[in-house]
């Protein structure tokens, strides 16, 4: 991916997430359960995925809409999955939290915090055994690094020199708990990447709002992994621009997207507004246009194309058929 392609992918992710969010108001009841958005993490997602090649694998969490877009998944199929339609990426079985697209290297997503980390580590073990030089990108949140699964996995990955890059998206929150309320490193004023020290692997903390920096950092870690030198922990500082997820309510109560927890729980409007000013999507556009790498007209065209694409995704998802109820009994076992 060149820088224009990275920008395009970031804009497409943002537009997709905006349309998911708008669906709660425009088409009430169409999205059920719990939906988590990647807005604010686009630079981190795209910069990381720009550093891998076909044959590599990606694993992530329930906050999973961004990665498949960067990997080239069909956005109409993704939206249809989130709308629970038979033409969805996973036939309406998994919904927003459980996207998978194995043909593009996206192996599956767990809704249970931290549990995808050992799974990604296992995919890296498989890659090591395969011996083709493939790597695994493992994405998770700051909160997930409080799970035993994280610590057990980093130890084995380092011990066995597995070809994996652990990308921790530190957005400073686990739902409505701030990172310094739950992380010993953060409470001590240290970066979370400090955890890498305990497992004798490189650990770096970077501005996850800068896709170029993310790209070069992850590319270096990927090169190290491919060369058989083992894993790296990349702490990518991001800020999610929406609430943790949509409101949680029993059936019959309309769902909506509340404001960010900085505002609703901590009353910290200034923090949220600062995050909006640092929004990585317009920031990258500004950097590209100012440096002459991209002209404003092309940038506008990219935005317009993304808007058209996601309108088609919404239309195609709304028009998609409901799954056959009896299909609930398919795929229980392979």
């Amino acid at each position: 991916m060149d820088r224009t392609a990275m920008y395009r992918a970031m804009v497409r992710i943002r537009e997709f997430e905006e349309r998911v969010k708008r669906t709660f108001a425009e088409h009430p009841g169409v999205i059920r359960g719990h939906t988590h958005l990647a807005d604010g993490a686009e630079a981190s997602i795209v910069g990381s995925i720009a550093a891998i090649r076909p044959g590599d694998h990606v694993m992530a969490t329930y906050r999973c809409h961004g990665y498949p877009i960067a990997l080239g998944s069909d956005t109409t199929a993704m939206m249809a999955e989130i709308y629970g339609r038979a033409n969805g990426l996973c036939g309406g079985y998994g919904g927003s939290m459980h996207l998978a697209d194995p043909e593009r290297g996206f192996l599956g997503t767990s809704g249970i915090v931290g549990q995808s980390i050992p799974q990604a580590t296992g995919a890296a073990y498989a890659a090591q055994v395969r011996g083709a030089g493939d790597v695994v990108l493992c994405f998770f949140g700051d909160g997930a690094s409080k799970q035993g699964a994280f610590h057990e996995s980093l130890n084995i990955a380092s011990l066995w020199k597995l070809p994996i890059v652990f990308v921790m998206e530190n957005n400073s929150y686990s739902v409505s708990v701030r990172v310094e309320q739950e992380d010993a490193n953060a409470a001590a004023g240290e970066p979370l990447a400090t955890k890498a020290v305990a497992y004798s692997m490189p650990g770096v903390t970077i501005d996850g709002g800068d896709p170029d920096l993310v790209h070069t950092t992850v590319a270096e870690a990927v090169a190290r992994a491919r060369a058989g030198e083992g894993p790296t922990l990349v702490e990518s500082l991001v800020y999610r621009l929406s609430a943790h997820g949509n409101s949680i309510a029993p059936p019959g109560v309309p769902l909506h997207y509340p404001e960010h927890e900085a505002v609703t729980v901590f009353g910290d409007v200034a923090e949220y507004e600062a995050a909006l000013r640092g929004d990585p999507v317009p920031r990258f556009r500004g950097a590209l246009v100012t440096s002459g790498a991209l002209d404003a007209a092309t940038a506008d065209a990219i935005a317009a194309e993304a808007a058209d694409e996601m309108q088609r995704a919404v239309d195609g998802a709304l028009a998609g058929p409901d799954p056959d109820p009896a299909d609930a009994l398919r795929f229980v076992v392979a």
Binding site: I31, R32, G33, H34, E81, G84, R85, A86, G88, G92, Y93, G94, G95, S96, M97, H98, S110, G111, I112, V113, G114, Q115, G143, A144, K146, Q147, G148, A149, S174, V175, S176, V177, Q181, E182, D183, A249, P250, P251, V253, V265, F266, G267, D322, P323, D324, P325, A326, D327, A328, L329, V332
Partner: protein, 332 residues
């Protein structure tokens, strides 16, 4: 004096009153004590009420240790599936210590978790997974279906000297009902006959109790009198109340939101087949979830779950059943 409050408010009131009564009761979890205005921190201070990192193994293991050391911790585990991360601590540690120490130590702790959230939460957040816990010696399991029982069972759970898994049904969260204001204790191992009847016994738990009551109403219009029983705790399980009912009705139907082989209903069916066979005038019918995870899309989610129509059909089958060539309904 009773007044109407929601199921979730009743649970929190039960915890609050026990914390006020006994300084040894602690409350920890990922969704308690974190916000600057947390009412439990305001009432009981930041030592007894603490927000935890996302670390179920430590949260539940620490509750066990604090309990062994004299406290009565309540861990708010949010959703039942999250405590699967700490399965060893739930089924193979605190619940064994009293026994393994020959009665010398006790581990009084409560794990509070929601379950059964079949509202589009898909494969990993919707399970009715009590079947994994009800056969584990040393562990008690409560499944309240009303706000009053929710408060009363929580208070009893906190005073119990054993680990208790308190599973509240997510679909009932905002259901309101009369709840006594002051101290209110509901004993463990005592089923409630929530609707008396004489033609058929219908046992249900949690959210399905309310579906069973709707089915009973519908069947009453057809002249079928259904007795609905809610066990309220499934470990201990009040088999006697169910047997006594089946002795009178001669027929048993069971509703369960879990898949059949992991259900309370299968256990009750076995108990009644073993101890109440002579009373049965028809084969037992179980209306359970079909054997699949819960899909995201609503048509598939609905397909596998018990509902009023399936319960009515199940009860009709018991009532119309023929045993040894005789139509038992006609012989009634």
């Amino acid at each position: 004096m009773a007044r109407e409050i929601t199921y979730i408010a009743a649970i929190m009131e039960g915890i609050h009153q026990e914390m006020a009564r006994d300084d040894d009761v602690l409350l920890i979890g990922q969704s308690v004590g974190g916000s600057p205005e947390d009412p439990f921190v305001a009432a009981f201070g930041p030592d007894r009420v603490r927000v935890t990192p996302i670390s179920e193994t430590a949260e539940i293991g620490m509750a066990a240790g604090a309990a062994l050391a004299g406290k009565r911790p309540v861990v708010d585990c949010t959703m039942a599936e999250f405590l699967l991360v700490a399965m060893d601590q739930v089924v193979n540690e605190a619940n064994r210590f009293h026994y393994m120490s020959g009665g010398r130590v006790t581990a009084p702790l409560v794990l509070k978790a929601g379950y059964g959230f079949t509202a589009g939460w898909a494969g990993q957040h919707t399970g009715s997974i009590y079947g994994m816990f009800m056969g584990v010696p040393g562990l008690k399991v409560a499944l309240p279906s009303t706000p009053a029982d929710a408060k009363g069972l929580m208070a009893t759970a906190i005073r119990d000297d054993n680990p208790v898994l308190f599973l509240h049904h997510y679909l009932l969260t905002l259901e309101a009902g009369d709840v006594p204001e002051g101290e209110h204790l509901v004993p463990f191992g005592q089923a409630a006959v929530v609707r008396p009847g004489h033609d058929v016994t219908l046992v249900a738990t949690g959210w399905t109790v309310h579906r069973a009551l709707e089915a009973a109403e519908e069947l009453a219009a057809e002249g079928v009198s259904v007795e609905v029983i809610d066990p309220r705790t499934i470990a201990p399980l009040d088999v006697d109340t169910i047997l006594a009912s089946v002795e009178r009705t001669g027929r048993l139907a069971l509703v369960d939101q879990a898949t059949k082989h992991a259900s309370v209903s299968a256990i009750i069916a076995a108990e009644v087949a073993e101890a109440g066979f002579a009373s049965l005038r028809a084969p037992i019918v179980q209306v359970t979830a079909l054997d699949a995870p819960i899909a995201y899309a609503k048509p598939m989610e609905d397909f596998v779950l018990p509902d009023v129509g399936k319960i009515v059909a199940g009860v009709r089958r018991v009532v119309d059943a023929t045993v040894s060539g005789h139509n038992t309904a006609a012989a009634r």
